[in-house]
């Protein structure tokens, strides 16, 4: 809470209260629950317009999102950036 006891709006109060371990655990559960829900729904609802061949298979887009995301972050941060990284004032201005 703010040190001076200033008045906070409802949104600020709500957001400040979400940073306890309990609330973080709660939001994590909500997130994983939502993931399971949308993955399950993609099994129920048919894709009438597969464009790429593989996207006719169930859970294609869930796997696509996760794998592409993981691969992209690892590629960028572990391989590309170490090669092209320089100090912030490499060109003489920050």
């Amino acid at each position: 809470m703010p040190p001076h006891g200033e008045n906070l709006g409802f949104l600020a109060k709500f957001l400040a209260a979400q940073l306890t371990a309990d609330r973080i655990k709660f939001w994590r559960r909500v997130f994983f629950g939502a993931l399971i829900l949308v993955a399950a729904l993609s099994l129920v609802i048919a894709n009438h317009h597969p464009h790429f061949g593989y996207d006719q298979y169930p859970l294609f887009w869930s796997v696509f999102g996760a794998l592409v995301g993981l691969a992209m972050v690892l590629l960028v941060k572990k391989i590309i950036q170490p090669m092209i990284k320089r100090s912030e004032d490499y060109y003489g201005d920050l």
């Binding site: 729904l41 317009h49 887009w61 696509f64 690892l74």
Partner: protein, 594 residues
């Protein structure tokens, strides 16, 4: 300059830019700033299709007001964005910034409504000048340098465009600005294409953008992110639809932009790289060139201007309030700047293509159009970029700016954010949401109405597909949030080569000059000084006897003239540029009323 059915929005912006410096300084003038955008909104929705404001010059017919379905949709979103942008910048006292923004926006409208290459080029350069000032007026040494680089780069791009226009004129005897068939393309067409691609930030010509935009003023970058690249998208859509090379270039841009956005630390540079990525979707849509993908590109440009403006406003608000845009120095601010966070998230979800927001109805149209036209790889590349978009702009930036795994930072000094900044953001956030929920309010203005009914965004499968892609890329971010944590660094990009080229040219100019300068100095020391000394002795006698008597009075006048002269040639780029814009506008006005 208005006919019964047409009003040129640039006129309102130019007039405002002309009178603003002379208004008294009691801040009440700020409300007048809202008049040009309101006039522009009225004009954009009411101008009748056709060629307006034609004028004869050098035996050519210049068409300043070409209105059709493609120019209308761009004029509309430009008008809305100019209103939101000016509201966002109402608190700024610096008239110079407002004049620069007004000139810049006037240039944008001029380009979009230009019916021939000559008037297009004139407004194209006006934009380049206005935006240079928007960077420079941030008034830090680094932004002045960045503005200079920006101006040099756009001047070169503009000259390539001009060369293309003039060569094309020699071959076709016309300045008509219309579609160019990709089959029989000749050199001038390629030069024009390159000139356009510079402003569209097509990789590898893009590096001016992440160099300049993060260094612009908080409010100036909001304008720049909306107009320059989207004007370029418009001219590409008009002149080069169906050019296969653009489909490839656009896909590369879409992926390249998100890769850099994922490693950057500077919030507004992340967003800048992300403009490259987003404009890639539009360029790819134009390159595929079917009615559906041109519609998709136009819809995406419309939606993009709204949410990218909002993203820059949000990041700008954080910079304004916290004094830094480096993510590693931020964090723990969600409860301190709650509404900035919410408004930013609306834009972040829009750009990521989350259902309920406008990116969902525009991005998916381009991708589906590309896939249906048989460009499977383009569509797949754009889906890849969509994952990177959500991770970099939708999750990484807000997470590290507002949370970052840190407790709420109650002790940090935050400058209060003026209400007008919130108002500007709220307007765009509401529009992002409305267009997402009611796509018709966007689709009804698309250029190819017959093709609009081929695509329906709100099917249950589209929603589930989007939620799966976004949800599981969110999972990837969650698992790798420690790996992606940003830190201070400069990531080399193609501007390394621009700087090399610049230095090489400078080297080849400076060396001979320095050589001749040296010789001249030696000659002068040996001969000139001796002669001068002799002359000096003679004149001092003359001076003592005759001149002192006459001159003392006039010396003061000479000094005054000298000071004026020194003021005029102090090497300050901004004053020369300002003078150039002023003269160009005077010449235009003279021509118009001749």
């Amino acid at each position: 300059m208005a006919t019964s059915s047409f009003f040129h929005p640039s006129v309102a912006f130019l007039m405002m830019a002309a009178i603003l410096p002379f208004l008294p300084g009691n801040r009440r003038w700020k409300w007048l700033l809202l008049l040009p955008p309101l006039a522009a909104i009225y004009a954009a929705f009411n101008n009748q299709p056709g060629d307006h404001l034609t004028l004869q010059w050098l035996g050519q017919t210049l068409k300043l007001g070409h209105v059709d379905s493609l120019s209308s949709i761009f004029a509309q979103v430009f008008a809305i964005m100019s209103l939101a942008g000016l509201i966002y910048s109402l608190h700024v006292n610096d008239k110079g910034q407002h004049v620069a923004a007004l000139l810049y926006v006037a240039g944008g409208f001029g380009c979009v409504l230009a019916g021939d290459y000559l008037s297009l080029f004139a407004f194209w350069e006006l934009m380049s000048l206005g935006s240079t000032f928007l960077v420079m007026l941030n008034r830090t040494p680094e932004s002045v340098r960045a503005a200079f680089r920006y101006f040099l780069y756009h001047t070169v791009g503009g000259l390539i465009l001009l060369a293309g226009i003039l060569l094309r004129y020699r071959l076709t005897n016309s300045f008509d600005f219309g579609p160019i068939a990709s089959g029989g393309a000749i050199l001038p067409d390629w030069l024009i294409l390159i000139g356009f691609c510079v402003n569209a930030a097509v990789v590898p010509l893009h590096a001016w953008l992440p160099d300049a935009y993060p260094r612009g003023t908080v409010t100036g970058s909001v304008f720049m992110c909306a107009f320059t690249t989207k004007t370029a998208v418009y001219v590409l859509a008009r002149a080069f639809p169906g050019w296969e090379i653009l489909a490839i270039a656009g896909t590369i841009m879409a992926i390249y932009g998100v890769l850099y956005a994922s490693m950057e630390n500077n919030a507004r540079r992340i967003l800048s790289y992300h403009i490259v990525s987003q404009v890639g979707y539009m360029v790819a849509g134009i390159g595929v060139g079917t009615a559906m993908t041109i519609n998709g590109a136009s819809a995406h440009a419309y939606a993009h201007i709204l949410y990218k403006g909002l993203l820059f406003m949000g990041a700008g608000a954080v910079l304004y309030s916290a004094g830094t845009q480096r993510l590693d120095e931020l964090g723990g601010l969600a409860a301190r700047l709650p509404w900035v966070m919410v408004l930013y998230m609306v834009a972040a979800l829009s750009i990521s293509g989350m259902p309920l927001f406008n990116g969902f109805v525009s991005k998916t149209m381009t991708i589906a159009g590309a896939a249906e036209a048989g460009h499977t790889w383009v569509a797949l590349g754009l889906e890849l970029a969509a994952v990177g978009t959500f991770i970099s702009v939708g999750l990484k930036l807000p997470y590290f700016a507002f949370w970052g795994g840190k407790p709420t930072n109650w002790s940090r000094e935050l400058k209060p954010i003026p209400a007008n900044m919130y108002a500007g953001m709220a307007i765009l956030a509401i529009l992002c949401f409305l267009q997402g929920v009611y796509p018709e309010i966007l689709y009804r203005y698309l250029p190819f109405q017959a093709a609009v009914h081929e695509y329906h965004p709100w099917t249950s499968w589209n929603v589930i597909q989007a939620l799966n892609i976004l949800g599981f890329s969110g999972l990837a971010f969650y698992l790798l949030r420690k790996v992606i944590a940003p830190h201070k660094a400069l990531n080399l990009d193609f501007d390394l080569f621009y700087r090399l080229i610049g230095r090489t040219i400078l080297f080849f100019i400076c060396r001979p000059l320095a050589f001749f300068d040296n010789i001249w100095t030696n000659v002068w020391n040996a001969v000139g000084l001796r002669i001068l000394k002799g002359l000096g002795k003679l004149t001092s006698v003359f001076d003592l006897r005759v001149i002192d008597f006459i001159v003392d009075g006039s010396a003061r006048d000479v000094k005054r003239v000298g000071q004026l002269g020194a003021l005029a040639q102090n090497g300050r780029l901004q004053q020369y540029l300002g003078l150039a814009v002023f003269l160009a506008l005077v010449i235009l006005a003279v021509l118009w009323y001749w």
